[in-house]
């Protein structure tokens, strides 16, 4: 061994691009997007891949992505949050009550909702790190607690109904609405239409009036989360906390703080989705976000997150969500029965887990 100590490493740079790409956790999700696209290009009506068709499936996809990106970071940090879907309903209630019952302006109500959700998230986080119980069971409890509180709270806020209306009227004219609801770049699309570069209706208004804001939010979040994971010390701590909490903490990583912060972040992502959905619908109800926790976790797994933590990618979760949206909406463009969706979903999850397992063995050199 000492003889080769000072020699130049001839192996550097010889690893082919393909094998380096094979090690990226998001590879599976990107391959999945390509496969699903090819599938629908063959089977679906050509309208699916027009601009309006694409935005049509990207909208639910990016709503899911907002949750899935949070869930993926938490999973990389070694924990789960099964209360995500219930948190959407609960934060939706808090937000709606703030603007309808207390007539708060959005500039107060939105930050208050995000902070409130983060605080609730920190409760489950603290319980998990302090007791060492699996986050699976702790957040399962919160799945029911928050769903129940949403129902009870809605009845209190409305005097007996499980739906709280009047959000749209309450926020009418608020300057923050365009950032959280509707389409962005409307002027740009109108300009494109006036030049005849995008499809228009007969009266000259463009068929696509802009990019739905949730798409921009999810892209922004995916970029930010990826930056944090790959290019900041905190990102390294997240991988370390999920990979081996004892080793990480022996090396000086504040594991508990990292984990609790991730729970707070995930909850805040759920609250952001709640705000977008409530502003869009103009009301909230107790079923909001129902079973979204599973979809978010599935998207994160398709995106390359290991169930055991310490490995995964936020951008992968984003692509995982796109696969999801493409399949849900895409089936309506085909002759298939839409209920194939669930079969597809399960199959996709199974494939992703098998694939991830293979990748993990490749990375760790396990045989």
């Amino acid at each position: 061994m000492p003889t080769e100590a000072n020699s130049v490493d001839e192996r550097i740079g010889t690893e082919p691009l393909i094998s380096r790409l094979m090690k990226r956790p998001e590879l599976g999700a990107i391959a999945g997007v390509v496969l699903v696209t090819i599938f629908f290009m063959i089977t679906a009506d050509s309208a699916m891949f027009t601009l309006s068709g694409i935005l049509n499936f990207l909208t639910p996809a990016s709503q899911l992505a907002i949750l899935a990106i949070g869930a993926s970071m938490l999973m990389i940090g070694g924990e789960f949050d099964l209360s995500l879907g219930s948190m959407v309903a609960f934060a939706g209630l808090f937000f709606s009550a703030a603007v309808v019952n207390f007539s708060l302006p959005l500039v107060v109500a939105i930050p208050a909702t995000l902070v409130f959700a983060a605080l609730v998230g920190s409760i489950s986080g603290q319980i998990v790190v302090r007791t060492g119980l699996p986050s699976f069971i702790v957040t399962l409890a919160f799945l029911f607690i928050l769903r129940g509180l949403s129902l009870v709270g809605l009845k209190l806020a409305t005097g007996g109904s499980t739906q709280l209306r009047g959000v749209r009227e309450a926020v009418e004219g608020d300057w923050l609405v365009p950032f959280f609801s509707g389409d962005a770049f409307g002027g740009f699309f109108a300009w494109l239409a006036s030049n005849g570069w995008v499809e228009t209706f007969k009266n000259g208004t463009p068929k696509v009036t802009g990019i739905p804001v949730e798409i921009l939010w999810s892209i922004g979040l995916a970029v930010l989360a990826t930056y944090v994971l790959l290019r900041t010390p905190v990102g390294n701590w997240i991988f370390a906390a999920g990979g081996d909490p004892v080793a990480a903490s022996n090396s000086g990583v504040p594991v508990r703080k990292v984990k609790v912060s991730l729970f707070m972040l995930t909850a805040a992502c759920a609250a952001l989705l709640a705000i977008i959905q409530v502003l869009d619908a103009g009301s909230t109800d107790a079923r909001r976000g129902f079973q979204k926790e599973f979809e978010a976790i599935i998207a994160a797994v398709i995106g390359g997150c290991l169930l055991t933590g310490g490995y995964g990618s936020a951008i992968g979760a984003f692509f995982g969500s796109i696969i999801f949206g493409m399949v849900v909406i895409g089936l309506t463009y085909t002759n298939f029965d839409q209920d194939w969706f669930q079969v597809f979903l399960g199959g996709m999850l199974l494939l992703a887990v098998l694939f991830n397992n293979m990748i993990r063995k490749r990375v760790t050199g396990e045989r």
């Binding site: 080769e4 020699s7 370390a240 990480a248 022996n250 310490g310």
Partner: protein
């Protein structure tokens, strides 16, 4: 001989009624490898945990560079310059060598919101330090899981050395390794010693100790059975001391002296 970096005098450690250490004295100087030998249950682990600040001694003093020190937490001893590489190595297999190397102490560049992990510098230094230790990585992003046991040990040692260890405690670094990997780790120990770091090498394998040790201290039932310098002691003598002398002598005959 120069003054010791760490001098532990008459260390006693009681756990309730159990006396784990009953007056152990031990020191290590710069640039030497001091082997601490002992059979299972002899008190080796308790002793190094005292040295690295995990346990507080019941009695006795710890002098660090001549000054008396009290370690309340492992962090205190780490900051003083005592680094411990435990058997589990504190390595995360799924993470790259670079990310493991810098874990908890990442170099940054930029300020405020733009403060970020300086991955290029981290990669460069990691590759350099690994090369110095005689390990040529495929790349800095190679996962630790793909390294052999001996290479992982070396990464852990390199990390400790890079972050300014003056004393390096190695807890049974060779116990789970094959012949070739063991010799690699022993070569690493030699390299570290030549950099002027005091190495405390814990083992129950006399041959590994003889290969790199300058001095040998044997622990048995919580007591030191004396310290010998290289050349003044044979492997058999050390072996006998570790075993307490009697039983092994009678076994020796039937096993043909191979233990």
């Amino acid at each position: 001989m120069t003054d010791p970096i760490v001098h532990m005098e008459n260390i006693e450690k009681h756990f309730g009624a159990v006396i784990a250490l009953a007056g152990v004295s031990f020191d290590v100087t710069a640039g030497e490898c001091h082997c601490l030998l002992g059979d299972n249950g002899a008190g080796k682990s308790t002793f190094i945990k005292t040295m690295s600040g995990v346990h507080k001694p019941t009695k006795g003093t710890i002098l660090f560079e001549g000054k008396e020190l009290k370690f309340d937490t492992p962090r205190d001893s780490m900051e003083a310059g005592i680094a411990t590489v435990y058997q589990d190595l504190a390595m995360i297999p799924l993470m790259s060598v670079t990310r493991n190397f810098w874990m908890g102490r990442e170099p940054t560049k930029g300020r405020g919101l733009f403060k970020r992990f300086d991955i290029d510098r981290a990669n460069e230094i990691t590759m350099e330090e690994m090369r110095k230790m005689g390990i040529n990585l495929r790349g800095p992003d190679q996962a630790v899981g793909t390294l052999s046991g001996g290479e992982r040990q070396t990464v852990a040692i390199a990390r400790a050395v890079f972050f300014g260890a003056k004393v390096l405690i190695l807890d049974e670094p060779t116990s789970a390794l094959g012949v070739r990997q063991t010799s690699n780790v022993l070569a690493t120990v030699d390299r570290v010693r030549n950099q002027g770091i005091g190495v405390v090498f814990i083992t129950h394998n006399v041959r590994h100790a003889m290969a790199v040790g300058d001095r040998f201290t044997v622990l048995n039932r919580g007591k030191t059975l004396g310290t010998a310098t290289k050349g003044n002691v044979t492997a058999e003598e050390l072996q006998d001391m570790m075993a307490g002398g009697q039983e092994l002598a009678s076994l020796e005959g039937s096993l043909g002296g191979t233990v």
